[in-house]
Symmetry: C2
């Protein structure tokens, strides 16, 4: 896994331009290059490898997905959203560059990410490139991550009646959709069959759910030093999270179940097993 | 021109989905469907027609460009940017839906717009579709409109030494780049030659400059009732505009020159002449 993380980091550094206006490109680079686990790009590369594809072919797409992820962090942390001052142990983007530039850096990354795919994956051919872009628009946009974000914010204002269903929608879109994008893109690059893609989508959904539940648990039990961001806010805000709705013990139980299922499904991949183990470890199960 | 405006409006209405979460899709629809001049999509359609293309083929791309334009309005009006309460005579997006939803609606439109192209222009073939998306990423992103926005905001904080050059950069990117995107896209759909595209890009640059100068003039001489937004703010903010830098008379003179050049270049198009006349009329030259 560390080899893949290094590969992602090297290429992110290479793909993030330093053009004029410096303020904009520095702001984009700042959040994209903050040290992170690179989970999503690693999943993309590993899926491609697992299915017999050439890992080099998946690098631009894997990096683009990390850039998109950075964009969601920048906008999530804004004062009008979660109003967070720290991310990955460093001041958030708007704390360093100001709110206006942070909004625009996020906007820029939303088109910069797919532009990286079109610029650096020409060898895949127009049809496959277009398929990758369609996946990006679907999972990263109004029908995907952004839909999850909006419902997440709404559920802070008032606890919905159909809380379980709503929580399901939030987790599916806010978190699992980006896992799906990463894994499906890797599969498409490796010329996976429809059946393989469908199976992997289901796997990605479960893993995404598990990851979000672990995040909900960590918000309650972890510390700023461990996570590099302010915690315990969800509890205070009475936000609709898995732990708030079902309690921490039920959350841990559900998480164990989901991760066991994921583990059984992905026996051929050492890297995915490492990811599953890492999620277990972070919440101590 | 009115026929083209109606065609754009009908199709915008059709393309703007009403899915769950309602709040998000209503917010996106709200600004996209505010009555407007539809200048950019009309330019796209008219360019396609002028070059012998089928206007129907350009409708999704033309509408996508208007959606992108709406996105820039939503984010520009945010409190951390221009902090405007009115747009096209109506309350701005964040005034109706709140800041968080406005940020997310803008984010959603950034990928929704090119998704409309991929969904509804399949008949153009993968190569041409990909070319249209590349144009979108280039002119709408970090190297285009967003770059112009960042420099525009920076120039408010401190007047730059190289003011003329900086103003040139702002106008080229903030305004002319979207005109270029519209006109170049229309040309690509109509299978224009490289020479034709280069000539039209130059024309679009001049027209974009002219339009931005007319906007700078209007900020000084027009009223809220005429424009549907708060005016005179640029003067107060000592913003880097054509009128602030060169004075209103020089601005009018430059505008007349640019529009005369545009007029000579586009004799074959009644619609572009109407656009040029409309710009002249709005500032009374």
């Amino acid at each position: 896994m560390n080899n893949l993380i290094n590969l992602v980091n090297e290429n992110l550094e290479r793909f993030m331009d330093t053009a004029y206006p410096n303020e904009l490109f520095e702001s984009m680079r700042y959040t994209v290059l903050l040290p992170g686990k690179r989970l999503r790009p690693v999943m993309c590369l590993e899926t491609c490898r697992m299915l017999g594809g050439n890992i080099e072919d998946a690098i631009p797409t894997a990096c683009a997905i990390e850039m998109y992820h950075a964009m969601t962090l920048i906008h999530d942390d804004l004062p009008c959203m979660d109003n967070d001052d720290f991310r990955r142990g460093k001041p958030t983007n708007h704390k360093v560059f100001g709110e206006a530039t942070a909004v625009l850096a996020g906007d820029a990354l939303l088109t910069y990410a797919p532009q990286i795919i079109t610029k650096h994956s020409k060898n895949l051919g127009s049809d496959k490139l277009l398929k990758l872009l369609e996946e990006y628009f679907q999972y990263a946009g109004a029908y995907g991550v952004i839909a999850g974000q909006v419902v997440d914010i709404e559920s802070e204002k008032k606890y919905p009646k159909n809380a379980a269903e709503t929580l399901n929608f939030i987790h599916t879109h806010k978190t699992a959709d980006l896992f799906k994008l990463a894994i499906r893109s890797g599969a498409i690059i490796a010329n996976a069959t429809d059946k393989q893609i469908a199976d992997l989508t289901d796997f990605a959904e479960k893993l995404g759910f598990a990851f979000q539940i672990s995040d909900d648990i960590l918000d309650e039990i972890s510390t700023f030093e461990e996570m590099g961001k302010t915690l315990g806010k969800d509890k205070t805000a009475e936000k609709l999270t898995y732990t708030n709705l079902y309690g921490i013990e039920n959350a841990k139980c559900k998480l164990t179940c989901l991760l066991d299922e994921c583990y059984d499904r992905i026996q051929e991949s050492v890297v995915f097993k490492e990811i599953i183990d890492a999620i277990k470890k972070r919440v101590g199960i």
